[in-house]
Assembly symmetry: C2
């Protein structure tokens, strides 16, 4: 069984070994020390300021998206959302639930986000930009420098869902002026789904502290306060947090740049092979995490044929269901896995 | 290492073995079939009506508590909460966040909930009762028949947090007129924390469908709709859900009554031994899940001494920090584990 999905992904032997062990109790000094260590490593990997705050939520990534949005923004704000797929729409739906006014930069499928598309939104008093830096539903990687410059010149906060982009693409909170970043355990961290993180700059934290949370469970300030002593307000997914600590150290030992360049190399390897066998890849900028592949109405059949051969790629939903499959490059994968995938794909479409 | 905590608990070998395996992708027919099967077994174990709905949330138990309260009740309701400890207070704090008016039956530490305490709240127009049937912070098991009769005669909905009581004490949704029940993976189910469930009666479901959810992530109706095809709206803790399916079948094969009576027998075994060595157990009614033990200001020292001997019991927080330890009877434990615990306890206090 091979997963080229974008969560869960192929896990590392170290993670699986640890997952088979009895969990410890967590209201202890040892667990607190581990959580403080995870916070420190995570901040280094993100280029976050020392005074940034980290919340470890026991939730899917969407829980962390809602926590970030609803603890930072209110009905007095005016927000701009980049909507180029399902995850952009999710930010909009979250704003709807919380009565946060927004406009959106709506991209057609296949359209690249350019600076021209942003110009119309200048000088209109937006307080924040919400973006899925890798719009995972299409694989488009938006230009962080473009968005960063726009937010700086407009005095807007920049809130980035980097759930599928973290460890796959180059991002740096301080360099890129990112106020809040949203992460999840089951992407390049290659852990079980269930832990998601929100990391916020000191500036964003000042705002969050002043805004009453509309939720008890997703009250970020409660998590930030408890994390000061390495704890969580509620019983967390203890095993996933232990594995997270190990994985953060594995990535830091390897080096973040090397981790990203290895993922980029796998993505290139697959993309070259895919084009060689006649597959069509959209020409918008791509995240290293995932490659979208276009089909002419038979994506579901190809997905099912691959499944019968022990291979799972990522299916699409909605309008793209029969047009798009997505091939992940995160998790414990190597070139030989792509050789097998490409061979099977060639047989199926040949 | 031995855990007598009330979550995480000692896990079963079958769970640990499964946890060491690569996770599958979950947007598949196989995963859907498993989730529908889990729903069916869970309903049988709870005595839930066939038309009841089940939400599998990737969240701590508190997330499920908030989902149940905030998707069922609004500022037009008037709620009664049994507050006999930290988890009763948590229900009140959740109501505060959502502007749900409430009164509370406030119990002093050590006070038993009796019918007399409820009489003052009759005929005052409450729409729902919120109760942690085992108030895990003290171990008091409230009388479900008392509460059930009260709610029936007052025409109130009955919403029960059974997080620590499920599989340890006798509960039956239909018999006891329970409209909503809240469960979590890390108690008697003995799994990793991270999955919590809300099971609602058809009557409660009719109400939930009419009330707009104040949260996107905790919108129960979204979970109920997707669970009709065995799916979740957001990427769930896939591994914990696989283990949940196995555990539900293990419990059903053993028989629910036998599971509960085995836990009751372990609780009795420990309680007899504890009294024999001079420990003091409060005289309010106790859940089979946990035994509170009173100390004279040295609970923290006893907790630490046990930790040094490889044993972890459950510490208390707040006012009870130095007065109360709690010994769990859920998870993979046997009489010999209690023999060791009692021997160590006797040495420490002797």
């Amino acid at each position: 069984m091979r997963l080229f999905t974008v969560g869960p992904v192929m896990m590392y032997p170290e993670t699986l070994e640890e997952s088979g062990r009895q969990l410890p109790y967590f209201r202890t000094a040892e667990f607190s020390a581990m959580m403080l260590d995870s916070e420190a490593v995570l901040k280094r990997l993100l280029g976050a300021e020392d005074a940034s705050k980290v919340a470890f939520l026991t939730a899917s990534g969407t829980g962390a998206m809602e926590a970030a949005v609803s603890n930072t923004l209110t009905s007095d704000d005016k927000v701009l959302i980049i909507i180029g797929g399902g995850f952009g729409r999710r930010f909009a739906e979250i704003c709807d639930v919380h009565n946060i006014p927004y406009d959106s930069v709506d991209l057609e499928f296949g359209e690249t986000l350019t600076g021209d598309r942003l110009e119309a939104f200048r000088g209109r008093g937006y307080s924040a930009l919400l973006v899925n830096i890798d719009e995972t539903s299409t694989g488009q990687l938006y230009d962080i420098h473009l968005l960063s410059d726009f937010c700086r010149s407009e005095g807007m906060m920049l809130i980035v869902d980097a759930i599928s982009s973290f460890l796959a693409d180059d991002l740096d909170m301080e360099r890129d002026g990112i106020d809040e970043i949203i992460l999840s355990s089951q992407k390049a961290l290659s852990l079980e789904p269930g832990i998601s993180m929100v990391v916020v700059s000191p500036r964003a934290y000042d705002r969050i502290r002043m805004i009453p949370s509309p939720s008890y469970y997703l009250d970020l300030d409660h998590y930030f306060i408890d994390q000061e002593r390495g704890q969580t307000p509620f019983t967390p997914a203890v095993g996933t947090l232990i594995n997270l600590n190990h994985m953060l150290h594995m990535v830091e030992s390897k080096g973040l740049d090397r981790k990203i360049s290895e993922t980029a190399a796998l993505a290139s390897y697959f993309r070259e092979g895919a084009r060689r066998i006649g597959l069509i890849i959209p020409d918008y900028p791509l995240s290293n995490a995932v490659t979208p592949v276009l089909f002419d109405g038979n994506a579901t059949e190809v997905f099912e044929s691959l499944r019968e051969r022990g291979i799972t790629v990522t299916p699409s939903g909605g309008d793209l269901k029969n047009r798009l499959l997505r091939v992940g490059h995160i998790g414990n994968l190597s070139e030989s896995d792509y050789d097998i995938l490409l061979k099977e794909l060639e047989e199926i479409i040949g």
